[in-house]
Every structure is written in structure tokens, then in C-alpha cells.
Symmetry: C2
Subunit: 324 residues, 2 copies
Amino acid sequence: MQQRASRIVVLAGGIGGARFLRGLQQAAPDADITVIGNTGDDIHLFGLKVCPDLDTVMYTLGGGIHEGQGWGRADETFAVKDELKAYGVGPEWFGLGDRDFATHIVRTQMLAAGYPLSAVTEALCERWQPGVRLLPMSDDRVETHVAVEVDGERKAVHFQEYWVRLRASVPAEAIVPVGADQAKPAPGVLEAIADADVILFPPSNPVVSVGTILAVPGIREAIADAGVPVVGLSPIVGDAPVRGMADKVLAAVGVESTASAVALHYGSGLIDGWLVDEVDAGHVGPVEEAGIRCRAVPLMMTDTDASARMAAEALALAEEVRAV
Amino acid sequence: MQQRASRIVVLAGGIGGARFLRGLQQAAPDADITVIGNTGDDIHLFGLKVCPDLDTVMYTLGGGIHEGQGWGRADETFAVKDELKAYGVGPEWFGLGDRDFATHIVRTQMLAAGYPLSAVTEALCERWQPGVRLLPMSDDRVETHVAVEVDGERKAVHFQEYWVRLRASVPAEAIVPVGADQAKPAPGVLEAIADADVILFPPSNPVVSVGTILAVPGIREAIADAGVPVVGLSPIVGDAPVRGMADKVLAAVGVESTASAVALHYGSGLIDGWLVDEVDAGHVGPVEEAGIRCRAVPLMMTDTDASARMAAEALALAEEVRAV
């Protein structure tokens, strides 16, 4: 009798989520993987709808990613961007390449024609064949804004402006996923969670990536109620983010930049297992006491093989949790 | 006492109009030129608003045109187009380059923000500095459709589809500037006509370029009432179009492809002077009898100097008309 493929649901942000997913595909080639992608980073630029996290997952798994950069397209050119600058039309700080522009043009045209983002994402994936089912967390507009103080003035800026233009160089006083409280999970999201055998949180940003997905009413509850192992991977190694600037936004929500603090931030009501890096092996006491099973393994995604080993460890920890 | 600059109004289509205008600028460097551009060729492609004739004038006079081709940008690349094709998104028959895309992105964003096309065109021209005041004939949407029979099926296609995709290879049974009857002249159009010293019709297409402009209620009447010389240049030389496929659309409106027939199509109620090519010198009898003063000069715009000589002849004929 043939066993059905293992059904894995992954909550993904951008670069970290995408690289983890590539490893997961290598570690579990027969798995049926559904990705719930963060759309809180989405932004309208030049009248076009840009979905950075969905595109990073799609391009990475579809073989179109700029490998060195981790986002955007390989072999990019910038004729459109140069022309927009010649017209004096900004912002200049968000560097869209010509190939990438085409994706946003197609998406914007389909949205204007009335298709929801989930249908648009599916259509784009018909070309890229990422090998996973990629769902936006919601078809409703959610935009993460960051409260900052710049030159003595308090204001809220779009997350992309905070992250890309300001390079997180000023303290984030608050992180607000605007619209999340009114958003509904996209079609298929709750069903995929309910049908999952395992749910994974990659080492994505716990506040502005995974946290934003969890802020859509119904998703956190569905995960808690799924009755299957939920395993996360720490985005913090040795008290510093694996990549990116996760520490900046953790501070805004009052969470320390440690692997343990992030696990406790998710909480034992949500996650059952937690992978930390070997350097943090000695600090997981409070997490285990809270009822979250920990394991220490190398957590640096230096290449796809390393990511695959991490994914395999996460799946192994899930089975350990299940067996308890 | 300094004389004020001569005020010239030109009704322009695309390539022919743009090349004539470049000649006019050389022939009358101090003139104050207002161009009323045809927008019946405008089309929405990939969700973006494309204005082929306005852009051809803007790029030609602003130094950005692809000289050999006559339309589109010089030094173009086609990354966006290739990507759209990879997504299976058409049409493929309309070849927009990356630089050109930027213009349409800026225009579409401004229109979506509520600016009328005339304001958008002015903003785009701030970059290009075409040396003329470029006005769309109307801020209202007008789209020239062509009734054709393809494979036994009668249907109406957008003018661009007829011209670019079908290459005017099937007979045009009717040409309809959809929306023209409800359109209002753009701000400044009627004022420019009323204030003009001379009004010129370049050797643009008399049906789908100049004819469409004249189909906007108020424009034809304003020209007839302006009380200043109105001089046209024949787009037909020796019974064939100077360039393009004007004969195909002339047939649809029941006009012969001859310099004389086009002049009589405009009519003496509209034009006072008519330039024909030297090869047509012997055939202008009926035009002169109708009260339109003719002159035969070389009408091939082989380079800017040739276009400038044509423009100078048109202005000279206007003065001859004025003196009568």
C-alpha cells in the first residue's frame, strides 16, 4: 500500500524562507508543500503592485532568483528604473529591474481585472513551477508600517521604507500590520493548515514575516488547533540575526534578540519544537521548561545542502514531538 | 518695436507629423508652435496607457526617437517584453521596449492619480523639452476602431491591431473614432486655434490622424472660424502614400488615393492652401477650382532639411493666402 505524500505547511517571509524551502524540497522531495507567504511587505510602486516576499519564494524555487543578492531576478537590467529617474519619478531607493517589472505589470493588470492576489500568484507560478503551492496569507491588503522618529519628527513609514531606505538605522518604536485585523486568510490557507502533517516556521523574521502571517485572524488559531507538530527554526544565532536586521524589529515588540526569547515569543501554545544553533545549545532551558522541545544543530544556510540538513532536522524533531 | 513670435498650430499624427514638426522648428526657429496631437491611436496594453502619436512627437522633438524606425526609443532593450512573453501575456504584436515602458508607467500612474492626459503630457514634456506645446486633442478617451472581415467574420478591431498586427492587409470597411462624438477638446486646444496666425496640416494620415482630431466636436469649427490661413501638405505623392498605408483607410471613407482627392476631402471650408508634390503638379485643377490655392514642391521628408523646406513652403503659401 502506498503511503500518501507528507503534507507540510510552511509560513514564509522572503530570503530566509525561500532558502529554507529550497532545502526542504531537497530533504523531502516527495512532500506536498504548501507555503503561506507574507504579504505585509507588499507595496505599490509606480502604480504597480509589488509583492517582495511572494516573488522571492517564487523566483528562488523557480530558478530565477539573483543568487548573490537573494531577491530580484538574475541577469537583471535597469532601463526602466533609469528612465523613471530621468522623469524625476521616485522612489529611487527601491531597485526594481526590468525583468522584475514585468512580474509586477502582469500582477497589476490581473488585479485590475478583478482577480484576487491568490489567483494572480497561482497564474504567475504556472510559469515558475516552484514545486510548492504558494498562497498569499490573505487576498486583502495588509501593509506593515513602522513607527519611527526621524529628525525629531514621529511618523509611520511603510516597512519597505524602514527596511530598504532607512536600513533600519533608527529605532522602530512600533510595528503595525495595517489592515491585518480586518484581513481574511486567502482561499486554501486554513484548509492547508487543517490538513497538514507538519507545520514549519523557517528562520524568517518572527515579527514582520511570520508574525504578520500570524496576525491575520484565524491563522494562529488554525495552527494551534491543527493537532500536528509545529516546529520552528531560530532566526537568531548567538544573539544576532542569521541575516537581515531581525533584532531591530524584535526590540520594537519587546523581545530580546536570543533564540530562546523568540521561541517563548511564539509560545508553547503555538510551537512544539524549536531548533537552535549549536552555539545556543546551553541556553534552551527556559524554552524546554515551557514545554517546547529543543534541539541544537547548525543553523547557517550557507548553501542548499546546509538548508536541507536543517529541514531534515526540523522534520525529525517534528516526528520526535509526534511520538511523545 | 519687436514683433511677437508667429503662432503656429499644427494638427499632428505620429511619424509624419513629428518629422514635419522637426522641419518646421528649423524653418521657423522663433515661432510659437502648438501641436494638437491625435489620441485615437491610444491603447491600453498590459494595463498601461500607451499614446503612440503623442510619444512619437515627444520623442522625435526631444531627441529620444529611434530614427530609423520613426517610433519608439533609440537604444532600446526588450527585457520586459521578453518576460511578458514568458508569462504568456500578450499581445506580442505591439513591441514596447524597456525605455518606452517607463513612459507608459509614469503616464498610467499619473492618470490613476487623477491627472488628465493633458497634464500628464505636459509633465512628460518637462523632461523631453520638445520645444513645442504638445496638447492631446482631448482628455476624453477616444479609440479608433476599424471594421474588417477576417476569415468570413465581420468584426471591429482597435486601429493598432489593424495597423500593426494585420498590417492593413484586409480591407477596412469602416473607420470609427469611438468616443469622439462625446469628447471635448483638451484645455488650451480651442484657445490655441483661436489665437493662431497659421494652422498647418502636416502630411499625416488624413483619416486616422488629422481626421480623428477633426472628429472631436468643436475643433473643425474652431479652425474654420479662426480666420487665418490653413495650409495642408499632401500625404499622397503620385497616387501612393508618402509612407504608411494611408490608401487603405482612405478607401474606407470613399476617398481616392490622390493628392487632389485628399484636399477636396478636407474641403475649401477648412483649408485655404494645399501643397502637392511636383509629380502631382498637373492634377490640381479641381482643387484650385474649389477655391484652394495649390503649390507643387518636393514633398519627400528624406531628412530634416527637406522637411524644413516643405515647412517653409507651407508658411510661404499661408502668407500668399493671407495676402489675397
